[in-house]
Every structure is written in structure tokens, then in C-alpha cells.
Symmetry: C2
Subunit: 687 residues, 2 copies
């Protein structure tokens, strides 16, 4: 090297961080100095193989770097040994051993940081940078010496401070009786599992292994009222090892949340039984993902959970009774963390748990997880994030300000209270189209490949039996009924069409639409439409309330989280007026965003601080306390809403012309209509 | 008040702290500003009654204060109410309510801070200032509000921060499911037990009670190999509620420490069985002191333990095998703390434990406790602190430097290996005097009021039966034998005296002294003298080694800790040469100093930091590694030591003239003599 030339320039990808380092600097040291995350367990001894990198060769003109294999030290004895013992893939180098000789572009392999299955938009939107709460640290400990009679534990701590910089480490109590044997098993060489997140300032030794321990796993879990979903990931590589789900066994105590709260109130040991049930299910699921991934549950050191407030409380062993009545007081709203065994989690004995904060009594850690995942607070555009269940949890905001509320949508979106409603299962209608001219429907059935108007459909359908309509199809069929002019924007089935189509049937004073005739008649009744209207009005009114709080007329982008959001077509959701007007391209289903948020908090503890700070900042709106909410609810009954223009939707979808059937003229027993009439009268008096 | 005059001057006793405060300042605030410790649970609401003070009236010329009852506000409604409900003793005031009107001398009653039974020298040496790790804090919590949906726990934490300044409180996990019910029981008024010592920086909420909880207790416990001793104290007043002891049930696994280590090595579940035994005994003792004091064990929030390294390890559930063999590695040498239930302590579920640090593999937390109690590091004079058992733990130092060692005295001081030795029990000779002219003894027997030469002794003695010599008397009889010329400074019983006295008996090649004839002959044999010589030589050699390390020829003051120290007469200990020459007034038995140290660490967490820092600073001397130790041991066989002059002892006690019986001339089978001869030969060769 010419001594007058500057130090070599090294660029790390994909982070893009760059810097100059003296010739001979190990690549790992350069990465650390730049804050590029490269894992290392063995502390630079070239034994763990975690610090692998690749050199990208070529002329990177944009970066003014010519990177070449000549610019990195030749493979030395340590890497050769590692290759012999454990195998080093072609092109890979150990960054602790390879040193910088000239300009380099270094690729830090991200394995599958978070793969597409988990974060649907990972490729376009973001990569979860790894910075988990667990660090594996290999050390060689000084042997005892009668001249300096410190304890074995103190010498272990001294080694961890010397090699890894851990000062004033705390030690999990259960390890104290184990330390001496573990230290002596592999000649005073051990790997310590360090947890860095416990109290944000001090780190804790939570597990200890003889020799080199090169594996560490974590789980991220979303405890839903119906389904519990779990991801198992390697905390060292970020690799998603397995994902699985199971139904929440608490269902036997009550289908929905409020019936579970009632069960606790009526049964002295109800809380205990439900806590036990959910913890057993979580442990069972841990067993399942571990079996799938070939991982021992003892190698799980960290666990992150999200759930709605009632699931959150029951999982923590807290009586949820207060959440069933005003003022809906959470026992604890902040993030909760502790030792996993304290809440019955079967993992490593020193494993920790972390539960994301709750936003409010009806907006739980699951909404916090979805917020973390979708990040309204991380961007400038106005983002609407909705997670629809029995309650809709609604978050609206951008980097300036975030507001949140929940709205009682009821169970209609889940197919309950719908005459032909059923769970999404073989035989359920899942897609519907109605011809606006003939009013004839076509549909698809779960378990049948063809549409109903295709040849061979009936044969195939006969095999599974067509039994009902699932949640997503209910949205579609009502929207299609509106688009084809069967119902007005007020939701009234137009009885006059009965003369034009045999699909319009009269039932006493109201009409219904015959979706399928046959052994089992599947119809959409006026009451069904009303139930959907009530549910969507609750959601839309909550959204509108938050838009008013934000002082915006439109939103820039919409995220549908949760299972419901995954199955419905955003177009139909908007046609029905569940959500406000928006470019259809900007309406996205993001799947289990709550679970993704849990995964982010598992893989990077900075995300824990991020969501804790964000939740503190979120303004919580209690719809029940907003005098305006009832009016918004009434106004939102129409589809799409009479009050609000939907210019973007209108541009994309041909909406029918407005009809003039007045609300007062609606026949039928729809309670909400009556309520709405009373409200309107009251409003006239007030106004 | 004349506005030009300075603010009133207030002097607090017994601390002597003083300061000026504006008229109207509550006395409690003044005390806090000066750092005078006045307890308060209710936070100034005049309900807990913990902050009582008294005004001293009179002209305190030395302090230039005229203190008068006119200088404090008249008793107000709050104090009247407290008096009606709970009673306020004559002259007492609640310092939270009473305000300063003029110059005052305020007496802060110390209750029985630590009474004389616990700290024998408390009256003269020190008072344990109270600053326990537990603080009881009464707060009134804001009720939940749907507009600000924070959790109940968060509002509790906010109240504790607002009223008491606790920032960033941690919460014991087991409380989280309890918080809501407790808050609602007494209308959102609760008392929180806060533990301040866990990680030295952050405080933790460990217990929570509805309404005002005005009691908090702690235990200090010394786990000895033979006896477990415990004190129960009020952490709020410092009052010693009860003290008790029990024998260590581990004795059934082995009399002495090494036999217990062997038991663990030989039995797979030996460690577990011994841990269980000692924990059960500790829990039994907690029950005993609680019953005695009328205290519920649920009201115990803090526990402090000391013990020798093997007791320390077994109590913590650590296998002590490593302590039974070089290099005598402690599993953990620093202070250990944690949740009391983690080590099986049955107290409040949120109670903590703290175990003092160990100094070295043979110098345990008990020696640390004794050091904390006697405080060589707190004063300028050279203090020798010895705790004699099977091992003598020796600490020597002053505020400049402290050194410590243990020395293997063996069991002779406890009466083992002595032909007529027995435990201190009725029938055991406990005091001995020998007439130097007639060589006739007189003695006292446990259970008999008279000396053996008094009228009626034999009748009384016959009732109990005289069966042997206990530990303290063994020291006395050998010392008296020396003072009366029966044995030389080399420890040889002078057979020539057999002609002068029938008390000198010949047994083969050696002689013995007949202490009592009768049904059961009680003699002191040449071997008995040898055993005592060996034991005292070990102790003295250890002391000498430390004196050499310190570079001193004499010590200024000596403390005998432990049961042995309590029963022996310091004069005889020095005549025998157990301890170096010193003013006899400066040799003091301090009883269970280890337990007193535990009590200090319980009552004042600053003492925890003090002993942790001191132990780190103590230089540990391993006698086995000191080539010089063997020679010191040999030299120390003589009584009082041939090598060292004992001028102070000589001035106080008439020592016999030196005899000329040479070591080589000694008959008998005394192994140490043979060893000593070999050593001397070796030394001559080396020299």
C-alpha cells in the first residue's frame, strides 16, 4: 500500500453504511464501528460462524468503489479450520478473521430477515433490522486462585465485562447453583445468554452453557379471541423457523369477549380456568412450532405477546371484570415484562416475556402491535389502520399525531346474526357477483374450484354441499346488491324488482334476495342487510370521529389488519362504506399485523421503545363519551354514505344513481332504524 | 415574629443536626431537609403516627437555643383526631402537623433502635441509624377516567411518583393481578411497600395494601453450623420484637462442616436434603419469632442472612463440594439478593432476601457480618477480630487497610478431642482456679451455684453429676496449669511435681493433672494440653501472619466474636496465647457479631454498601499458600509464646518464670511436636 493514499473505503450492504478503516482492520470491527449489525457469539474466535459476510466484486461507480477479492485478506488458518469443522459456503468469509486490505463492498447476508409470509410488504416497505434483546456471548473464564478468592460467578462476570463490555450484570437466581458445574464442564469455556432489555439499563445473565452455544430462539405470539398465532425465529440470524396457529380454547367459556368476561363474573374460578386454558394453548403451540422447526423449547430465550385487552389480562392472570363495564379500566396499560415461567410459559427457565402496551380499555396490545407493524407514526401521509373483529380497533395518524378508538361493530362481519351466515369452511360461499341487468348471481364456494356459472360446478358443489355465506362473501353480496340496484343507498331491498326477477322474494313486509335455491335455500334478508349496515356504520362512524379529531376530510392510505381484512376485497369494503373514500390502490390488507408487530418487538428491542413511546403519544378517543358519535353512527348507515362523497371510489367503480326511498319509508323490524328515527327527532329538537 | 429577625433555629437530637427554617415549616419537612431520619407512612396526613417527636424545653446555652413549647404550633385538629383514634403519648407531637414558630430543640425518639441485648456496646459505641430497604408509602390514587385510559397500575405509579418521588418504579409480577381489587377496597387509598435496594438504583413495589398499612418487619439471621439465630425487628421503628435460636438440623448429616461437604459428595441428593433442612429450620424460626412478637409472617418484607461459606452455599442451594478442596472456590463471593420465595423463605410473597458477601473460601458472610458489626474499617486503631469455631476466622485492620484469613483450629476449643471434654451442659466444669502453692483446684460446675471449695458444693454437685469439662473451662484449666507452674511454656506437664502433689498423675511416659476425683475421674492429660496447644497455635499463627502483613508488632484492641468468645475469659485466652499481647481492657467478647452485622444490614441499607465495599477492599490471605505460616504455627505452640514478649499481659497477670524443659526433652506422642522437630531440622538446612 502507498502510505500516502487514504485508508480503504468500506461500504456495507444492505445498510449502505460506509467508512474508512486502516489496512488490517478485521471486517467485523469495521462493521461494529459503523453500527452495522453483524452477529457474533464467539467474540472473534472464528468458531461460531455467525459473522459471515460476502465481498461484492466490481466497480461501484456510484459509490466510487472498486471492490475486489484482492482487497480482503486471504483465508487464514482459523477460517480453514471453521470450514473443515462446520463448513463455510462458497464466497462466504468470517468477518472476525478477514481483514481489510483495500476498498470493499461487503454484503451482510440477511438470511430471511423476515420473510414475505410474515411481512407482506417487507420487500417494498422495510426490513426488520435485527437487534434482539438476547445476545449470546462466549467467554473463557479465569480459573479460581487461592490468592484471589473471588467466586466463580464473579470471575464469569469479569470475563463478560472484559470481552463483551457487560458491566454490573445481574444474574438470574436459578443460575447461581449451576454456575460451578457449567464452568468446569468445558474447561472454563462457556456461552452466556444475556438479556439486554429487562430494565432498559442493566443486562441480565439468563442462561449459561458449557462451550460454544450457537443457537438462540424467540417466539412472537398474537393471542386472539378466536385464534392464537405464533412465529418461531432464530434470534441470531433472524430466520423465521416456523409459524403456526391454534384455536383459542377459551372459546368453550364463551364465543366472544364479553361472554368470557361474563363467565369470569359468574364463576369463582372462571378467571383461573381461562388463564390456564390460554397458557396451555400457548405452550402447546410452542411445542408445535418447535417440533416443526426442529428446535428445543429450552433454546427459546425470549417471548413477545400481543392480544386485545381481555386476552392480555387473562393471559397475565388478571381478572378482566373491570374491562366489561365503564370506565373499562385496564389493570395495567404499559408494556409488561418478566420471567416467562412467572406466567406459565414453558421455554428456557431463564426466558423472558414482553407484552406490548395496551392503548386503551378496548384498544389493546394487538392494536399496538398492528401500529408498530404498519407504522402510521413513522410516515407523513395520513394512514388509517383498522382491525375488525367484534370490536373494530381504529388507528389514524401520521408522524405528527396519532389518534385511536374502538367501535362496537358487533359480530355481523364474522357471519353471526346473518340468516345464512357461517364460518369460512368448505361449503361456504366466499365470492359473489350479481349481474346488474339480470340480477342473476354467480358465486364461488370454498372447496369448489369453479364459479357457479361454469360447467361442472353443480357436480363439484354437490360433493361438498353449499351451506351458507362466510364473512367475506357477506360484504360482497351486500355490496353487489347495492351496485346492481337491488338495495338503495339506505339499505332497503327494492320490492318493486320482484316483478323483474324471481330472485327478489317477499317475506311479510320486507323482501330478500335469493342467492341460491336448492336443497338449502341461501338468501340475504332485509335483516341481514340491516345487520351489516349497523356493523359498518359503527366502523365508519369511529373512523369519521377520528378524522374529525385529526381535522382531515380524506385519508391517504388504508390498512386492513386481521383475518377479516385478509379475506375481503378492499373495493367491496369501500363500496359498502366500511372505510372512507381513498385510492383503491392504497387500500391494503396486511394480514396479522398485530403478530408482525410482536415479531418486530422480538427481533429488535428498539421497536419496544418505539411502540411504548408511540402508545403514550396516541390520543385515545372513547366513542361512548363523544356526544357526536351517535350522529356519526346514524349518518353512516347509508351505503356509500349519503353524507360523504366518495369521489375516488366513484371514479373507479360505477356506483348506481341515488334512489329516493326515504328512511322513514322503510318497512321492517330493523331496530337501528327505529333508533335512528328517534335520534333524528331528538336532533331536530336540539338543533 | 419580628420580620427582621432570622428564621428560627431548630436542633434535632440525638443526631445533632441543625438548621434555620421559616416560621410555619412542618417539623417533618425540616427533618427531611436536614437528612434527619423520621419515619412517615401516611405522607403527612397525620394518620400513621410514625413521625412522632418531642420538644425539649429549656435554655440550651451551648447551642444558643432557648427551646419552648410556645415555639411550636398548638395541637391542631389532625393531631386531636389521631389522639382520639390511636392515642398520642403525653408530650409527643406529630411532626407532619406541628409547625415551627420559634427556636426549638426536637427530640426524635429512637424507640429501642437496637437494644443492648443485640449490640452489647450500643450505648457506648454506636446507634444503628435506620434506613431500611423497605419504605411504606400511603397514597390516594386517581380513579380511572375514560378520557385518559391509563391502567390502574399506571395511576398507582403516578401517585407514588407524585407524593413520594418514586420514579420508574418496578412492580413485582405477582402484584399485577391483584392491583385492581386492592385499589377498590378502600376507595383508592392504598399503602405500597417499596423496596429500595434491589439493584441499587431502581425501587420496586413489592406489596400493596388497602388503606393505611402501618407495620413492616424484617428478620436478620445467622446460619451457623450448629445454631441458627434470628432477630425480628420492626423496620419502621427499629424495635427489636423478638430474638430466638434453634439448632441447625443439618447436624444429622455431619457434626462439622467438612463432614457435611463429604455427605454431599457421597450422596446424590445430599445437597438437596441439607438445603431443605436448613430452609425448614429458618422457616420454623421465623414462625417462632413471629409468634413471640405477635407478628404475621406476611408482614415480613425483608430478610438478611449471614453464614460461613458452606452454610451460605447450602442455604442458597449451591453444592459446596468445591469448598471442600483446593482451591476452595466459592460459587459466588459477592452479596446475593433476590426474592425470598426463590430460596424457600416463607414470608410476604414479595419479600426480599439479602446475603452478605463472603470474604474468601473459608472466611464467609458471617465474618463479613462480624466485620460490619465491629467495624475495624471504621476506626484508626488496629483491631483484631476473631471468630473461633472449627476454623478461626480472623480479621485485622483499621480504616487504612484490612486483612483477613482463616486458620484451621480444629475442634479442640469446642471440647472435642479432649479426654474429659463435653458440651456446655449441666454437670460440665465451666470455671477452674488452681492454687499455685498447693496445686489444688477449685471449680464451678454448670447447674451448681457454689464453687467446689464452698460448703454444700458436693451435695449440689451430686444432684447434677459432674461429668466433664466444657470448652471455656478447657482454656481456663490449661491456663491455670501454666500459671501455677504445672506445665512449662512448652506445654509439658512437669512430672517432677508428682512428688509434691497427688494431683499430678503418671500415665506411662507422660503425666496428667487430676482435676476431680470420684465416681468419674476428670483429668487433663498431656494429650489434652497438646490438642489445646495445636488449636491455639493455629489461631495465633493466623493472627501473627496478618500482623506481619500489616507490619505491626501489637494490636490496639481485640474482639472475640461467636459463642466461644462469649464464654471464655479474655485473660485466660491471652495467658494461653490464643491472642497477641494487648491491654486486657481492650479484649472484649462481642457475642454473635455476625448476627449483629446482619441486623445492621437489615436496618440500614447503607451498611450493605459499606460491607460490600469493605469486603472488596479486604486483602485475603490464604494461610496454606504462605510458606511462612508453618513456622509461625510451630513458634506459636509455646504458651505464652516464647517468641513474642507479652509485656501488657505480664503487667496485668503474674506469669511464671520461664522453664527450661526443652522441646526435644518432651516425652509423649504429641504429633505436632514431632512435626515441629522435623520442621526445625528442615529450617536449619534451609537457613
Amino acid at each position: 500500500m502507498d502510505s500516502r493514499s487514504p485508508d480503504p473505503l468500506v461500504l456495507f450492504m444492505p445498510s449502505g453504511k460506509r467508512g474508512r478503516f486502516p489496512v488490517g482492520t478485521p471486517v467485523l470491527d469495521a462493521a461494529r464501528q459503523l453500527g452495522v449489525y453483524v452477529e457474533s457469539v464467539c467474540g472473534g474466535r472464528a468458531t461460531c460462524g455467525r459473522c459471515q459476510i460476502e465481498v461484492q466484486e466490481g466497480n461501484f461507480a456510484k459509490h466510487k468503489i472498486v471492490s475486489s477479492l484482492d482487497h480482503i485478506s486471504a483465508r487464514g488458518a482459523k477460517e480453514d479450520r471453521y470450514d473443515r469443522v462446520r463448513g463455510l459456503p462458497e464466497g462466504r468469509r468470517l468477518s472476525c478473521s478477514a481483514t481489510i486490505l483495500g476498498d470493499l463492498v461487503i454484503d451482510v447476508p440477511q438470511d430471511t430477515v423476515v420473510n414475505a409470509q410474515v411481512v407482506r410488504k417487507a420487500a417494498t416497505d422495510r426490513v426488520i433490522e435485527r437487534n434482539s434483546a438476547i445476545q449470546m456471548c462466549y467467554v473463557e473464564v479465569e480459573q479460581p486462585d487461592m490468592h484471589h478468592p473471588t467466586g466463580d460467578l464473579e470471575r464469569l462476570k469479569a470475563a463478560l465485562e472484559k470481552d463483551w463490555g457487560w458491566k454490573d450484570l445481574r444474574v438470574a437466581s436459578h443460575l447461581i447453583p449451576e454456575v460451578q458445574k457449567i464452568l468446569r464442564k468445558e474447561n472454563w469455556c462457556v456461552t452466556a445468554a444475556i438479556h439486554k432489555d429487562m430494565d432498559f439499563s442493566r443486562a441480565t445473565l439468563i442462561a449459561l452453557y458449557p462451550g460454544l452455544k450457537n443457537e438462540a430462539y424467540g417466539i412472537a405470539c398474537d393471542i386472539g379471541s378466536t385464534t392464537i398465532a405464533m412465529h418461531l425465529v432464530s434470534l441470531l440470524s433472524g430466520r423465521l423457523v416456523a409459524s403456526s396457529g391454534t384455536s383459542n380454547p377459551q372459546i368453550r367459556f364463551g364465543e366472544d369477549l364479553m361472554s368470557r368476561v361474563s363467565y369470569v363474573m359468574m364463576n369463582p374460578d372462571g378467571r383461573e380456568a381461562m388463564t390456564k386454558a390460554v397458557r396451555e394453548a400457548v405452550n402447546g403451540l410452542i411445542g408445535k412450532v418447535c417440533a416443526e422447526g426442529g428446535v428445543s423449547r429450552d433454546d427459546i430465550f425470549d417471548t413477545v405477546f400481543v392480544g386485545n385487552p381481555i386476552m392480555h389480562h387473562l393471559f397475565l392472570g388478571i381478572d378482566p371484570t373491570e374491562l366489561g363495564q365503564a370506565p373499562f379500566a385496564l389493570a395495567v396499560s404499559g408494556a409488561v415484562q418478566g420471567w416467562a415461567p412467572e406466567i406459565g410459559i414453558e421455554a428456557n427457565r431463564g426466558a423472558r416475556f414482553y407484552i406490548l402496551p395496551c392503548i386503551a380499555g378496548h384498544v389493546g396490545a394487538d392494536a399496538a402491535g398492528a401500529t408498530l407493524s404498519e407504522g402510521p407514526h413513522r410516515q407523513d401521509r395520513m394512514m388509517l389502520l383498522v382491525d375488525v373483529g367484534t370490536n373494530a380497533e381504529i388507528v389514524l395518524g401520521n408522524s405528527d399525531r396519532v389518534v385511536a378508538a374502538s367501535s362496537p361493530t358487533g359480530p355481523a362481519f364474522e357471519g353471526a346474526e346473518i340468516s345464512s351466515g357461517q364460518r369460512a369452511a368448505p361449503g361456504a360461499i366466499e365470492r359473489v357477483r350479481i349481474d346488474p341487468d339480470t340480477l342473476e348471481p354467480k358465486y364461488r364456494v370454498i372447496g369448489v374450484d369453479k364459479w357457479s356459472d361454469e360447467d361442472g360446478f353443480e357436480e363439484a358443489a354437490a360433493a361438498v354441499g353449499v351451506t351458507g355465506i362466510c364473512g367475506s362473501a357477506i360484504i360482497e353480496v351486500v355490496a353487489e346488491m347495492y351496485l346492481s340496484g337491488i338495495i338503495s343507498e339506505d339499505g332497503v331491498i327494492d320490492g318493486a324488482l320482484a316483478s323483474r326477477s324471481p330472485r327478489i322474494l317477499q317475506n311479510g313486509r320486507t323482501f330478500s334476495y335469493l342467492l341460491r335455491d336448492g336443497e338449502q335455500r341461501i338468501t340475504v334478508t332485509q335483516n341481514d342487510v340491516r345487520a351489516i349496515q349497523l356493523a359498518k356504520a359503527a366502523l365508519y362512524a369511529g373512523v369519521k370521529l377520528l378524522m374529525e379529531k385529526q381535522g382531515v376530510e380524506t385519508v391517504d392510505t388504508i390498512r386492513f389488519a386481521g383475518a377479516f381484512g385478509s379475506f375481503i376485497d378492499p373495493k367491496y369494503a369501500m363500496v359498502l362504506g366500511l372505510i372512507p373514500d381513498c385510492d383503491l390502490d392504497e387500500v391494503k390488507a396486511v394480514g396479522n399485523a398485530a403478530g408482525t408487530g410482536a415479531l418486530m418487538a422480538l427481533l429488535n428491542r428498539n421497536h419496544r421503545r418505539e411502540i411504548e413511546q408511540t402508545v403514550r403519544r396516541i390520543e385515545k378517543i372513547e366513542t361512548a363519551l363523544e356526544p357526536h358519535f351517535q350522529q356519526l353512527f346514524i349518518d353512516a348507515m347509508a351505503l356509500p354514505n349519503k353524507v360523504d362523497p366518495f369521489p375516488k371510489l366513484s371514479a373507479a367503480v360505477k356506483l348506481p344513481p341515488r334512489k329516493t326511498v326515504s328512511a322513514e319509508g322503510v318497512a321492517g323490524d330493523a331496530t337501528p332504524r327505529r333508533r335512528s328515527r328517534e335520534e333524528r327527532a331528538a336532533r331536530r329538537e336540539r338543533g
